[in-house]
């Protein structure tokens, strides 16, 4: 089910909100668990049992890890940890990477003239990358002693299936919501702020991202058939950069907003990423929960930056190679990850990271340069194949005038308006995440903005959501 789909908006969500609020506090987790399983089962029922089974295994192994540690049997605890991580990564590997791997082996076999393996074609269960990381974080946190293992398996099941974030994040740790898991008690101000946050996210998705999408789609399709011109290429990639941000951050706002209305505080996922003054800074603002996960569960365990420059660079490359692969089993994602990893290495080497609190010199120029670097990377991210990406880059740099006809057709007044609005929002001064500012800041201006959001923007967004055809969130494919 998709947050912006009419089934979710006009049936599932109001029913779950009303049922949760109406239920006695001790029964709310059962309402939420039922809702989470139904939400996930809607369309991917065949995978639901595997998710439940894998979660129960994690629950049991986490208890075992804790018991083994408490008993001083560290090798056993480590073994159970490895088992848990392995079963999670095996599921992820099978569903997400087995097809890619067999395809590469088949190509390799073809090159050396040997019979290749059968290329597997496996449907990717929605949200698997997100909840796999969450389950891994749980058992690792238990191993580290950062969180106590849950005695009740329903707690872990609710943590994994909590529908606001089960399929596209924010990637949450159990310890962040453990207090609410057993007895969610939403406070009135939290519920009100959650509604505003949700409305803000829905508007970002349907009023901006979905309106811009045809421009990017047309540009990348034109790159695929060799008709892309230079202006169209730049317009297309800028449109994609804005579409991706408003789509994914809109989803995160909606998830956080629903979480708040249900009494949960989910972690923030975006903080004005296109205001970043370096690529390092960008990764502290973009998909923050993913960056945090890789930092805590890969980068730091590898030694982080504490073991000399060469190992730091190696660790950065590993993290960003994995970041790329996490987004998809394709060479374009691998290259995209390495591209960002390389920039982080360059910034560290040249002292350009600009991550301390003091504003850097030439902030505007650095911001523009960072945006340009990120923009170039998005081509790899969006292109269907390396060939298309190379054609796209060629169109960006080899001057070819005019606007590709389909891109020109996609630049309708509505799309241009949405593009201009998105650009203004991104360029507007300010240091805080817009959604959080809108929902939680006191003062006259935020109050007026809240009123406008509720009375004008929300009904408009609902009209657009109700009237549009199906439009999935971009990050569902990961």
């Amino acid at each position: 089910m998709v947050f912006s789909s009419p089934t979710f908006l006009f049936a599932f969500l109001p029913a779950v909100l009303l049922a949760t609020w109406a239920a006695p506090v001790r029964l709310r987790r059962f309402v939420l668990l039922t809702a989470g399983l139904a939400f996930y089962a809607w369309g991917v029922q065949e995978f639901l049992l595997i998710v439940i089974a894998s979660t129960i295994v994690d629950w049991a192994l986490a208890l075992g890890i804790r018991r083994a540690r408490d008993g001083g049997r560290i090798p056993l605890a480590r073994g159970l940890l490895v088992l848990s991580v392995a079963q999670n990564l095996a599921l992820l590997g099978y569903y997400k990477y087995a097809g890619f791997l067999t395809q590469q082996l088949d190509r390799l076999a073809d090159v050396v003239g040997m019979p290749g393996p059968a290329v597997l074609s496996i449907a990717l269960p929605i949200g698997i990358s997100f909840f796999t990381f969450e389950k891994v974080s749980y058992v690792v946190d238990v191993w580290r002693g950062d969180v106590a293992p849950r005695r009740d398996p329903l707690d872990v099941l609710l943590f994994v299936s909590f529908f606001p974030r089960s399929i596209a994040g924010p990637i949450t740790r159990l310890r962040e919501i453990q207090a609410e898991l057993r007895a969610p008690r939403p406070r009135p101000e939290q519920v009100g702020a959650g509604a505003i946050r949700f409305a803000h996210g829905l508007a970002k998705k349907v009023l901006i991202a979905d309106q811009i999408a045809p421009i990017a789609d047309a540009a990348f399709a034109a790159a695929g058939n060799g008709t892309l011109t230079t202006p169209a290429a730049w317009v297309g990639v800028v449109a994609f950069a804005l579409q991706l941000y408003f789509d994914f951050s809109g989803y995160s706002d909606m998830a956080i907003g629903i979480g708040m209305m249900l009494g949960f505080r989910l972690p923030e996922n975006f903080n004005r990423p296109y205001s970043a003054v370096s690529v390092t800074d960008f990764w502290r603002r973009w998909h923050m929960t993913l960056s945090r996960w890789f930092r805590d569960y890969v980068y730091i365990p590898l030694g982080g930056s504490q073991r000399g420059s060469r190992k730091t660079y190696r660790n950065l490359l590993i993290v960003f190679l994995l970041t790329g692969l996490w987004h998809g089993a394709a060479w374009v994602f691998v290259l995209w990850g390495l591209y960002h990893g390389a920039w982080l290495m360059i910034e560290r080497r040249m002292g350009w990271r600009a991550v301390d609190d003091s504003p850097p010199r030439h902030a505007a120029a650095r911001r523009a340069a960072t945006f340009l670097i990120v923009l170039v990377g998005w081509v790899l991210f969006r292109a269907e194949s390396l060939d298309v990406a190379l054609d796209y880059y060629a169109a960006m740099v080899a001057p070819a005038g005019g606007l590709t006809a389909p891109v020109s057709a996609a630049l309708t007044d509505q799309a241009l308006f949405a593009l201009a609005l998105a650009s203004l929002i991104v360029l507007a001064p300010g240091a805080r995440n817009g959604g959080r500012w809108l929902a939680e800041t006191a003062g006259r201006v935020p109050a007026i903005a809240r009123l406008a959001t509720l009375l004008l923007v929300l009904p408009l967004a609902l009209v657009y959501a109700f009237a549009q055809e199906f439009s999935p969130f971009l990050y569902f494919q990961f």
């Binding site: 009419p6 089934t7 009135p188 509604a195 109700f466 009237a467």
Partner: protein
């Protein structure tokens, strides 16, 4: 701030979200959208629940049933149209000043949808054959709005537009000089140039001016003097609901007038004397009652006459009525010209039941020759390639139609099928694809200026089937048969 005040945003959100479901529980139902049937609910069972398509179908079915979906579509379309001057339906083009156009009007020049034979030749041989068979005939092809109301802002595909415009012009030039043809475009263009557009702004059809032109010209062809007899004139003001805005999900009307008749004709036509085969332009002009105080023109001027749908006509549902009729009106819009090229063989085959002409001769290109009586027999292979040779000139400056009579069927009474194997040229329009009736004939029109020897036919049937000597009928505009 009080507890309720802090909860107000959430109360408002849930009220908006729950409104459709609550309305449904209170009995509110979403009417059909654009007359499309609601998508059915999927079958729910253990196996279907494991299929992702079941949930997609469930989403679609719910979406069609949520109350207020129509209102949301309308609001969305109104924002797009009124604020941004854009369309929410890819088939609807927004031009300047809110004028709307229908994109499929470019269909005749869209790759894959082009007519199979030359449309000008098609309407020419159709009208002339019917005139030759004694019908009082009107064949008219209605040009689309964008080719009358010139609006550069509506341009979406310059190549296709130019192509259709040229096709309209070619057809109209031909209809203007074809006996039985009616070219309306020049008159409609003249109105447009005088600042009196004959089209509705937000609809695919003519407004009262266009409808009046059509009604006058057609009714006077049906029976000269009929227009004056009935006192045809523009009637009261009405509000016309636009089909193009409806395609975008909006319900809007625009000012128009009804075209009315003041009285019935003094000399009413006998029932069934006229068959009108047309599409919605004909219906809006003659059949629909647009003013509640005045009957439709058809119900006052042509009482008892048959209005035949193209869907029926395409499948032979109008054949008997055509056989009985004395007057035929055939109207089609340019976007559906392929329907004319596809189905025009039907009235020509009916006309061919009565038409006769001087003998031509068979020229078999393979297998056995013709008999002493000039007849052709299907050889044991069941198929033969032939030409027909004229006794006169191979080329003529007027169209001709060849009548290929089936004299006798082979043992198994398999129908004779005729396919054209025309190397390096367009196929003949309106050729009979097959003939299964005893004593029937295949008809093969030869357009003006085309050598008869260009057309190579493959005739297929049971061995022993005999086709008599071909007959060549010259379509010079004269009625060769008197009717009724």
């Amino acid at each position: 701030m009080g507890r309720l005040a802090r909860l107000l945003p959430a109360i408002w959100l849930v009220a908006l979200l729950a409104a459709p479901a609550v309305a449904w529980l209170l009995g509110e139902r979403q009417p059909l959208l654009q007359n499309q049937p609601k998508k059915p609910f999927p079958t729910i069972n253990r196996s279907s629940l494991q299929d992702r398509a079941t949930f997609d179908q469930l989403d679609d079915a719910l979406l069609d049933r949520f109350p207020f979906r129509g209102a949301a579509l309308e609001a969305r379309a109104a924002i797009a149209y009124d604020v941004f001057g854009e369309s929410t339906n890819p088939d609807v083009i927004v031009g300047s000043n809110g004028w709307l156009y229908y994109r499929p009007e470019l269909m005749p020049c869209t790759p894959g949808s082009e007519p199979a034979t030359d449309p000008a030749d098609t309407v020419d041989v159709l009208a002339r054959t019917l005139v030759a068979a004694g019908y009082r005939t009107t064949v008219v092809i209605a040009a689309a709005k964008q080719f009358i109301h010139d609006d550069p802002a509506s341009s979406v595909d310059a190549r296709a537009e130019e192509c259709v415009r040229a096709m309209v012009s070619r057809i109209d030039r031909r209809l203007a000089r074809t006996p039985g043809g009616l070219a309306l475009t020049p008159e409609l263009l003249a109105l447009e140039r005088a600042g009196k557009s004959p089209f509705l702004k937000r609809d695919t059809h003519w407004n009262w001016r266009g409808r009046e032109v059509f009604a006058r010209r057609v009714l006077d062809r049906v029976q000269p003097g009929l227009v004056d007899e009935i006192g045809l004139r523009p009637g009261p003001a009405i509000r016309y609901p636009g089909d193009l805005v409806r395609m975008m999900g909006m319900r809007r009307t625009e000012p128009d007038r009804a075209v009315i008749a003041l009285r019935p004709p003094r000399r009413p036509l006998a029932p069934g004397e006229v068959v009108l085969i047309g599409d919605s332009q004909l219906d809006v002009s003659l059949k629909h009652q647009l003013s509640p105080r005045h009957p439709a023109l058809l119900d006052i001027a042509l009482v008892g006459q048959l209005r035949c749908d193209w869907a029926d006509f395409l499948h032979g549902g109008c054949d008997d009525a055509i056989r009985r009729a004395r007057v035929l009106v055939i109207e089609k819009v340019i976007r559906d010209i392929h329907s004319v090229t596809f189905a025009c063989w039907r009235p020509i085959a009916i006309a061919g039941e009565r038409l006769r002409g001087p003998a031509a001769k068979w020229e078999p290109l393979e297998g056995a020759g013709t008999g002493a009586d000039g007849a052709l027999e299907i050889p044991p292979s069941g198929s033969i390639a032939v030409r027909v040779r004229s006794r006169g000139a191979d080329v003529s400056d007027v169209p001709r139609v060849l009548r290929l009579p089936v004299e006798r069927y082979g043992d198994s009474a398999v129908p004779v099928t005729m396919t054209q194997e025309t190397p390096g040229g367009q196929a003949a329009p309106c050729a009979t694809p097959d003939q299964g009736a005893a004593g029937g004939a295949l008809m093969l029109p030869i357009p003006a200026g085309r050598p008869m020897s260009d057309f190579v036919l493959r005739l297929t049937s049971a061995p022993g089937t005999r086709l008599g000597r071909p007959q060549e009928i010259v379509l010079d505009g004269r009625a060769l048969v008197r009717r009724g």
